[in-house]
């Protein structure tokens, strides 16, 4: 496979068809009158009605079990916005779960495309994948402690899932190179890292000190993931550039 940045017959730009584009511009200018606004309603007007009337994309699920209600951690959440913590826990759980799949797909690609994966530290990627699995279990247990359902999709988990669609589309596409796939993991790790920071702060503020302490070990690992992937992205790019 050619490296992704190799020169080729990319036809998307106007310089590939200067004569045709010149004609297009001439034609566009000839009908410039038509672009006079034919409506007083703006795009914002259209969107504002929907924005004002929109129902939420979903709600945080009610705790499915009261078994944990007597526990100390739950008591501390009484009268506070527990749903915010549950929402963010659900988001982290879902993101870690998807992260495992992203790493699985990336590792599989690297194993096949060895010519492109020379700079990729596969053992590190395997460790990161396993760390995501541990983090998933960590959040699962934390949700259970609070009586929350770790199998439910919380609104923030759904938000993360929508944001991640493109990442999996990149890594699972055979035409996307190893370096393009590493870019997708980089984006994921950036979001993951900040997600953990936020979750630790939130848990601490809501009196969940034990939980926050446990999560700090995950953040330490996520920091290593991000640093490694960031450096890898840089190294691959510079190698491709021959510098």
């Amino acid at each position: 496979m050619k490296p992704p940045s190799s020169m080729g017959m990319n036809r998307t730009g106007v310089d590939m068809s200067p004569d045709l584009v010149e004609e297009m511009i001439r034609g566009t200018q000839a009908v410039a009158m038509a672009r006079e606004a034919t409506t007083t309603k703006t795009l914002s007007d259209y969107r504002s009605a929907y924005l004002q009337d929109a129902e939420p994309i979903g709600t945080v699920p009610m705790p499915g079990t009261l078994k944990g209600a007597a526990k100390a951690g739950v008591q501390k959440l009484m009268g506070r916005h527990a749903e915010v913590l549950i929402d963010k826990l659900g988001a982290r759980l879902a993101f870690e779960r998807t992260g495992i799949r992203l790493y699985d797909a990336l590792l599989a690609k690297c194993m096949i495309r060895t010519d492109e994966a020379g700079d990729v530290p596969l053992d590190d990627l395997r460790q990161f994948r396993d760390a995501e699995a541990r983090h998933m279990a960590l959040v699962w247990d934390a949700m259970r402690e609070l009586g929350a359902d770790p199998t439910a999709v919380t609104p923030m988990a759904d938000t993360n899932a929508v944001a991640s669609i493109g990442l999996m589309q990149i890594i699972s596409d055979p035409r996307m190179s190893v370096s393009q796939s590493i870019h997708a993991i980089h984006v994921a790790e950036l979001a993951d890292h900040d997600g953990w920071e936020l979750l630790i702060k939130l848990a601490g503020q809501l009196g969940q000190d034990d939980m926050a302490d446990r999560f700090k070990s995950a953040l330490t690992e996520e920091e290593r993931h991000l640093t490694t992937i960031r450096r890898l992205t840089e190294r691959i790019c510079l190698t491709e550039a021959g510098v």
């Binding site: 080729g8 017959m9 990319n10 036809r11 998307t12 730009g13 106007v14 590939m16 068809s17 004569d19 045709l20 584009v21 010149e22 004609e23 297009m24 511009i25 034609g27 566009t28 000839a30 009908v31 410039a32 038509a34 672009r35 006079e36 606004a37 034919t38 409506t39 309603k41 703006t42 795009l43 007007d45 259209y46 969107r47 009605a49 929907y50 589309q169 596409d173 055979p174 035409r175």
Partner: protein
Amino acid sequence: MAVNLLKDKGTPLDRQHFTWKDLVHPPISKMNVDAFTRVRIILMNGIESEALRFQHSCARMNKGLQVPLAQVRRKEQHQQTLVNWLLPADQSPLETTIGYEQVAIEVTASLAQNEPDPYVAQVLRFGLLEDFDHLYRYSALLDRLQGIDANTITQGYTDIVPGRPTVDEHRAPEDDLREHYNKQTAQPLTKLNALTIMAGEHQTHDYYMHYGPWFADPVARQLYAEIASIEEQHVTQYESIIDPTESWAEKWLLHEATEVYNYYSCMTHEEHPRIKAIWERFLDYELGHLQFVMEVFKQADRRDPAEVLPASLPEPIAYKSHREFVRQVLNDEVNLRADGTRFVDKSREPERSLTYRQQLNADGSPSNTVAAGWQWAPGGELAARRGIKEAA
């Protein structure tokens, strides 16, 4: 290579095989492929989609034809899969939509210029100007929603300017029906053109209905709803130009001939070697279907297929920019409207269509709003001043 519709055997049905891997070829490159290769892929998906749609309808009305229909239809379904799966995953639904409208413009323009029946040619030109406007509206959406220039898809072949305004295309159902050709006197090319355009428009309608809900933005959702409604009108228009007194077997025969004609047209123009090989293979498959259906026709209608089909194919569809023709039609006919099956100046449009349109547009027009003040420029609206200056 010349094709003899009546004699060429093609690939017999029992030698048309696929595997799952064979159904899923590597997709085209959105960035590197010539726009007309994408146009052909989109149209051929529509042609195969119509083959399935027709054959299912036929099966529901003709017990005696169900077995042969099922046999051919399975091949058509697999062909459609192979063709449609050539589109790449990095080509978004909105970018693909731009491709659909390029199909609707450049293919319709080709058919309209070759069409021997003046009335049918007029019908094609009428629809052309409406799809031409859709490209402009969707391009504005692509630019204003995602900051992407639609010309990265259309590659300079097709003007991106307003046509007959979409807001004015909404008509009472009675004004979407047209006169049909006469099966006895119509030239074969008229029948092939009619089936081709109907197939293309029907799949366009279905695509917009499928992907409208995929968009989060309310304006995009409304625009897809609006233009899907027009595509439904276009399907109504184009199916009505086909003689409804053709027998089921005759219609099946014409559908197969249309598939042959279209794969032949694709093969003739295709420069992408891997895609060309697919067109060649499927041309042979369709010739095999045609042979098979000719036998069905002989038994069902007790007629000679030569009464319906010509031996040789007409000139292939011209896959090229039809800019000058489209501009001329725009200049001459943008103010045409429909009064029943006739075309009239917009000053004489029937009250029923005006009332219908006024009611639908009562809460505003998404197609007007999305493109208000928008003009195509290289690199998009945000780069307009810089792009125009460079090009000047």
